[in-house]
Amino acid sequence: MTASDVRDFDPGDGRLSTPSTTRPSAWSADVRRPTAALPPLAPDRGQATPDWFEVVEHFREGLVVCDADGVVRHVSPVAERLLPEVTPGELLSAAGVPGLSQGVPGGFTHRERRLTARQVPLSGARCCWYVEDVTDSVSRADALLAERARSAFLAVVGDKLGNPLHPDRAAAAVVRLAVPTLAEVAVLVLAPRGGRARWWRATRTDDEAPTVDSGVLGGGELPSAIADGLTGAEPHAVDWLVEQAVDAGWLPGLAGTESAARVVPLPGRDAPVGVLLVARRATRWYDDDDVELVRAFAARAGAALTTALLYRDQAEVADTLQASLLPVEPVEATGVQWGTAYRPAQAGLRIGGDFYGSHRLTDGGSVFFLGDVSGKGVEAAVFTGQLRQCLQALHRLESNPARLLRLLNDALLETTQAHGQGRFATIVLGVARPERDGGLTLTMAGGGHLPPLVLRASGEVETVPLRGMLIGVVPDPRVGEVTVRLAPGETCLLYSDGVTEARGGRRGDELFGPERLVTALTGCQRMPAPALAERVEQVTCDWLAQGDHDDIAVLALRAAGVSGRSVRHLHSVPAGIDQTEETDA
């Protein structure tokens, strides 16, 4: 037996027995108290009767009580306000409220409010509908979801914008990421450099991926809202902003009257690095949360662009310096076909401690050299630069390789002692002179470097007996000297220890060694010098199998034969030297 048996409007909730509104927040429509809690109410029932209406008026849920025929018998004031079409004395179904049909509890939208309804059967086949306005809590939940979506968006943005270090790439990424979450059209204008402002724009039609285009504007052609934005101001007068953007032809597919737009500056190191214009159809206006999101996006975009611009400036400097430290390809010389390979230990840096090069002599010959300085990376590269400059100057004074090497040694000793560097180098330095028959005579001096190899026309490989001491260490080093004659088609190969000391093999710790190099070159006498140098690089890298390595440098000189053309081979190469099991195709 419950109070509802007596009172048509009893909600069936035992808590109503306490006629108090001081604890409304504790009310829970879902907690059905056992009817056993009710008995204390009974003695007061007569007295409490006039209070029920007051109590129900303060109740958060509205009540609609229907009789067995579905005719509305009572509507509480809250229910009246929420469901004005429900009239006592008429069928509930006649009111046409979507959520109040038999057996379908849940939420529905009615008169722009979010309502939930549940039906509780009463005695005598009657029933009561409890209707609650949950608009606020739903919108709180929606706001939470929206906040989560915004955080997720910003996380993706942070992830994607952190990587492109090229300013153009970063700018394109900024506009692409802004569409469609922030805008249907996003335009980024970078702060003008030299009176010209570069812009990027992403637009989206339908549900396809945004397309990005870009261009350049003169500083004077910027709409005033953009120009203001570049000074750091954020324009708020939204209407004329759209018109400016439409007039400038920036918003294809969007008409001025039905669009919403915002402009935000992208923070830079001091002044804004650029300005972002976002625009979309006015059906999705930019509310405060949206503007906050655009600002948060702009902060990340600004940081990414600033980093990219900073990187560009630094990289320009580094590139210029790097270019001066890269080995210069040998100059063309009569009767010589050059081949080179160069692979620095630090791939991203592209410079290292190995060097090679050549200079033409006035008598028709060429000075050539290949060497390796102590140390690795930038410092080593800078030292190779000094060394190459020394040689550039000294070869004009002295063309005998041994004497030239001693001069170089003196010059290096002076520099390293002056700077307290304690650096040294190994080098093979030679002079190549063309012969009448298309051959070459090589006179070489050794400064503690690996001895050169000569690939004979027979396909055999000889090691040139060339010794000597490191240069840059003692004042009068022992310098080895040797003369080698190359017949047309024969090749002399200079290489650095990055080749023979490459670690690889089964365990990745075995040295490549000179024997494997000789094996790899044997029988390759028909190869042009560039192909031979690349072959050495390739077998070394295959041996390394992606492992770390020292700088690798190769310089090959082939006697090109008369008239500058390679000799033609009239007989085929004897087979049998080939790597029969090499799985290379």
Binding site: A209, R507, S566, T580, A585
Partner: protein
């Protein structure tokens, strides 16, 4: 030798070109190609209908053991010089953005991507060709320094696919779209789809794809969920151990292997390593056909050099026994054994 080149018939020119390659005659080959250009043959046809098929034939001759590695390299070098000469002769005016073309790290087959690079150049792109075996770090720092509309990466050997994937991801992080090509991705590009990257079967389709930015960026997502089983990582970790034990068994069961010269031993170790690498790549893309195709190809290569198919069976069975706890690798090895000619299992 240069007078016979005044022809526009590529079929006729082709056999002459092959002869020049066989003779390692760079100048005659170049003269022939330039002669075709002067006779009105479009540069793209000279590259794709003369140089490209000739290079394929060079590879075939190596595979049939008719040409040595040295001859193959010399011929390739000459074709590279011819491509450079054709490009210098035409001098196309760049109208498009920059496209970077490179070989994957560890990949030395530079001529096919070079042809792609020249076709793109002929079609107005500003092309940078970074060459053979480009380290990922070098490529990425290049992309950071010079913006690119797209990167075209070549991979001729499927065993490089795991590295290829790493390199593709590195480019993606720089927000540069990637298109890949080369036989390393499968004849139909199926492993490119597996890695989630746009693929082009040949130079003209690569050019079309690069011109369509939307298609470039609409690459399918990678399907590599199978990597969670760690089989690939374990294979890579155990590579040295697997080769060692396979070599030990080979020496035990094939007496002649004990008398190998240093060079023969290196070649054997290299072959055993390639088998592990191809197996690992097959496990990486979860496609046994990568491995079975390799086994068929390897037995063909060895067969043409007088090595019996049994030489391949032994390591396959050894690896299968060593890897019985790796279901995907073991299944792949079983299919590999079955693919060998004369396999009755």
């Amino acid at each position: 030798m240069t007078a016979a080149t005044a022809t526009t018939d590529l079929g006729e020119a082709y056999s002459g070109y092959l002869d020049h390659l066989a003779e390692a005659d760079e100048y005659a080959a170049t003269d022939l190609a330039i002669g075709l250009l002067d006779a009105g043959v479009p540069a793209e046809r000279v590259l794709l209908d003369l140089v490209a098929p000739a290079q394929a034939e060079v590879g075939e001759r190596w595979a049939r053991n008719e040409w040595s590695v040295a001859q193959e390299h010399a011929a390739t070098h000459i074709s590279e010089q011819v491509v450079a000469a054709v490009s210098a002769h035409v001098k196309p005016r760049p109208t498009g953005g920059r496209v970077v073309v490179a070989c994957m790290d560890g990949e030395w087959h530079a001529l096919p991507p070079r042809l792609v690079a020249e076709v793109l150049r002929l079609r107005g792109w500003q092309v940078t060709f970074l060459g053979a075996s480009v380290p990922a770090a070098h490529l990425v720092s290049y992309l950071h320094r010079y913006d690119a509309h797209a990167v075209a990466l070549a991979c001729a050997l499927p065993m490089r696919l795991p590295y290829a994937h790493r390199m593709i991801e590195a480019c993606r992080r720089s927000d540069v779209p990637v298109v890949v090509g080369g036989r390393g991705f499968g004849a139909d590009g199926r492993w490119a789809r597996r890695l989630g990257v746009a693929w082009a079967p040949d130079a003209p389709s690569a050019a079309e794809l690069i011109a369509d930015e939307r298609a470039l960026r609409a690459a399918p997502p990678a399907r590599l969920a199978h990597l969670a089983d760690d089989e690939y990582a374990s294979l890579v970790r155990r590579r040295g151990e697997l080769i060692d034990s396979a070599l030990a068994e080979l020496r035990e069961r094939v007496p002649s292997a004990r008398a190998y010269t240093a060079a023969q031993l290196d070649a054997t170790v290299s072959d055993l390593g390639h088998i592990v690498d191809f197996l690992a790549a097959a496990v990486y893309v979860d496609d046994a056909s990568l491995f079975t195709e390799f086994v068929e190809w390897l037995s063909g290569i060895l067969g043409s050099r007088g090595v019996p198919a049994g030489a391949v069976v032994l390591p396959l069975e050894h690896y299968a026994a060593a890897l019985r706890d790796f279901p995907r690798a073991a299944r792949t090895l079983a299919l590999g054994c079955a693919a060998l000619p004369g396999a009755s299992r």
